[in-house]
Subunit: 293 residues, 4 copies
Amino acid sequence: MKIAFIGLGSMGAPMARHLIDTGVDVTVYNRTAAKAQAFAETGARVAETAKEALTEADALITMLADEHAVREVLDSALASLPRGALHISMSTISVAYSRQLAERHIQLNQRYVAAPVFGRPDAAAAKKLWIVAGGHAEDRARARPLLEAMGQGVIEVGDDPISANTVKLAGNHVIAGMLQSLGESFALVRKAGVSAEQFLDIINRLFKSPVYENYGNNIATEQFSPAGFKLRLGLKDMRLILAAADASETPMPLASLLHDRMLTAVVQDMGDLDWSVVGRLAADDAGLARKGE
Amino acid sequence: MKIAFIGLGSMGAPMARHLIDTGVDVTVYNRTAAKAQAFAETGARVAETAKEALTEADALITMLADEHAVREVLDSALASLPRGALHISMSTISVAYSRQLAERHIQLNQRYVAAPVFGRPDAAAAKKLWIVAGGHAEDRARARPLLEAMGQGVIEVGDDPISANTVKLAGNHVIAGMLQSLGESFALVRKAGVSAEQFLDIINRLFKSPVYENYGNNIATEQFSPAGFKLRLGLKDMRLILAAADASETPMPLASLLHDRMLTAVVQDMGDLDWSVVGRLAADDAGLARKGE
Amino acid sequence: MKIAFIGLGSMGAPMARHLIDTGVDVTVYNRTAAKAQAFAETGARVAETAKEALTEADALITMLADEHAVREVLDSALASLPRGALHISMSTISVAYSRQLAERHIQLNQRYVAAPVFGRPDAAAAKKLWIVAGGHAEDRARARPLLEAMGQGVIEVGDDPISANTVKLAGNHVIAGMLQSLGESFALVRKAGVSAEQFLDIINRLFKSPVYENYGNNIATEQFSPAGFKLRLGLKDMRLILAAADASETPMPLASLLHDRMLTAVVQDMGDLDWSVVGRLAADDAGLARKGE
Amino acid sequence: MKIAFIGLGSMGAPMARHLIDTGVDVTVYNRTAAKAQAFAETGARVAETAKEALTEADALITMLADEHAVREVLDSALASLPRGALHISMSTISVAYSRQLAERHIQLNQRYVAAPVFGRPDAAAAKKLWIVAGGHAEDRARARPLLEAMGQGVIEVGDDPISANTVKLAGNHVIAGMLQSLGESFALVRKAGVSAEQFLDIINRLFKSPVYENYGNNIATEQFSPAGFKLRLGLKDMRLILAAADASETPMPLASLLHDRMLTAVVQDMGDLDWSVVGRLAADDAGLARKGE
């Protein structure tokens, strides 16, 4: 089985390596060629164009930074993927674009599974990603061993590929909501003379969740750099969430609020910080001094 | 050491029992006398009035349903508490009222610790409450063994009693924020053909938190009765949060949103259901059918 | 007919003068005595205490800065108002307090009309206030000639005094909503290279309203001082609106938003500027330069 | 001068007639051919395709229902418009699409003015539209006499066509904000026993604006049909506003709120009613009975 793997950024690179480690035949392609060259020594073939990577592939895996990148790479090359080949789309993209991809694959007699992931680069490196898969049952079955090679678990959600994209966005919404409620709460208790660390300790005892622990620690210590997930990308995801909400007629007032907060943070030059920086925005709005200032 | 314990509802009753089990001398009082009578057999004395309970107490513990109840019981009786005696206020009350109590105790030469709790009646019964204590160091030290008898841990937050009340409210804000983000997310994925159960499974893998598990299960199965914590009380807490936010000049737009949602739910006759019912409101707004309808 | 007039601030002073000009017998009282002394030459009597002013009055008119001031002046003095005398309460107060006043007047066998006003100091001076009156029909009838002496029109809204207080608050909500939508719109068009003045010109052609013209001009020119109505007072009104909404179970998400924006503006030291400064907050959030900076 | 006029709906038809009345040479085209046939007797030529209408035109005027319709008609036909001809785009479209059109016209050596209108069909019929024009000065000068024939006034806003589209959207935002604040306020006063008519009377005295008078009357009487402007289209506009806000980094929390309310109203089958029906949604949320129910 020949695999084309496109997108070797901080997420894609470790995922591709896990795949290569299983011994399958992988051809990699990356828009910035240097990142692809680094794979030459792993035994993977390095394609010089997306088209070249796709031409003989049985399966194509895409893991690009965002929808714009996916469109740039695939829009012209997709027709080069053989009939019957399977596209496993792992990037976080809009529901609308996933639907377009699904339709295009039908026209081209190709197969399509949407399989976005939960986890940051460190989780990708440690094979700790959770992968959500949507698509026809036989396609999911075909994708599963490849996906299992890249994460700690695969959760299949339905026959419609967009079900997986929606789950990914909805999961991010839950995290983003947590960031905002933590941010406001930290600001409130700090105003009452409670230290952020003390409040975080309580939150950790209540929730017992590594997600609260990690992000809560960011906000309590105001460490937003290096970014695990940039606010700018978080804002993009809020747009995708609101677009999905709009298209499916699901009012999501909290998503609107989160969008507005993240947009405000971007205007205030926080776009390249970790998206938990919405917590600092809440503190700023309350007139609290920044740590170390 | 003589303890007066006031408030024997679904939270106070098991807490009082834990205290009695340690062998301290407890006098109980409850506005509805029948609940107090049930304590006669435990070895506790049963007072017929709040005043009677307070007169010879070294420490007073109050655990009433809300601020209104605390005011009703204490406003006239408080002067009967001896000089030097310690009031441990465990009810969820407003920051402003806690500050008033603190001032009144100073005037009356009494001591005051605010010690609200996290946990529902089942946690109270299982001695699994987390207790947050605020007040002067010597008062907290005096309160600690009593508090330890009633929960799984005591977290001391500062010399100002209101620091504890604020932490309690802020903690509830974090939970309420979670309910809304879960509710919206469940609605969104259901619209995309994903079952609530499937999404909950993913959330549980991501967050690994019993709080998400429990409340997520409520929303996924639409089981909101019997209520662990009534929406009506949740709305009250949102008011207390917003009042604390106002007084301390902490803008909390998410708290405003949560307040509005809960008020809308109360208008729609959901006030006596568990406060996770905001999740159903999100589904209703999206036009999704209710389970079993 | 003897009138006691309490509250000689920027609103009350011109209103009292209009009343005195009609020839009725007026006794004035003000907490800051100097302002009352200025009335000695108008033919009004000047009382040294609120009690003294009330003792022989047939009608009491109160026009104080806010509810706190009304409570401070009236709570102890009110019993001095003769049985059967009429209290016309013109300050902007909470619905809850107006209801308390109504009950207290019943206990004291006094009559009560709530009659808040729309208009700023310049309108009060020009007798251009609109006055909204609520209370029993016979009391409204008794109040009417006095009210007509102070404004350009009296609108009677119902037998329940709180109906008038609610109308006043609701009217301010409509104005506040306008400020926010103008502020956001000005920010949006400025980002597209349209001058604020140009957009204001269009708004004026569309709405043809002096209210849009005046406030729109504030926002377009960023002239927020001197304040016609201070943001700090606007925030107070938003609190009264939300309290009324809460008590009557009326979800008002826009009122919540306006509250949050005004609170944010107060934190940013805009509290003493005109409340149209929420328009500048919208521009600040968009990263637009302030005029003259 | 030969004019091609495309789009003969409830807005376009009367606008085209005004133009024809000035004696210029007009060719009309409409996707639903019957509406175009009705113009045969006016002296206008009737084209059977958009391409045919454009081929010899000196100026093209488009007035279609929405962006989708504009794309459908123009995307393929635009190249048929002669070099140097002027496109006057009067439909309400997104800022992003207007920018695309501007670029395409440059490529095709055509001229472009964006000239959206304020006003409903009755205003179009009465030549009472306000028209906002953006584009190069010489193009605006060329468009002006045509625009003046269709409205009561032309307001030129800048050299960049998107300035006009942005102004149109921002103006609609101001109107939508008014609808929401009126809706919430009507609900609040009705809960206090004040009739909607009484409150409207007060609002009219305060604002003295025909816009408040008309929309206020819709909400007070709950007459939302026939729709002057359908909620469904209002929701579309909110999307365009939020997209423009996003692209220009202008946080607009009120626009987000309005979007959410309109989306909720669409889910509740109010999409074909007048967009002032957001006022009824506010009343519904407060549990108020609908008029006549």
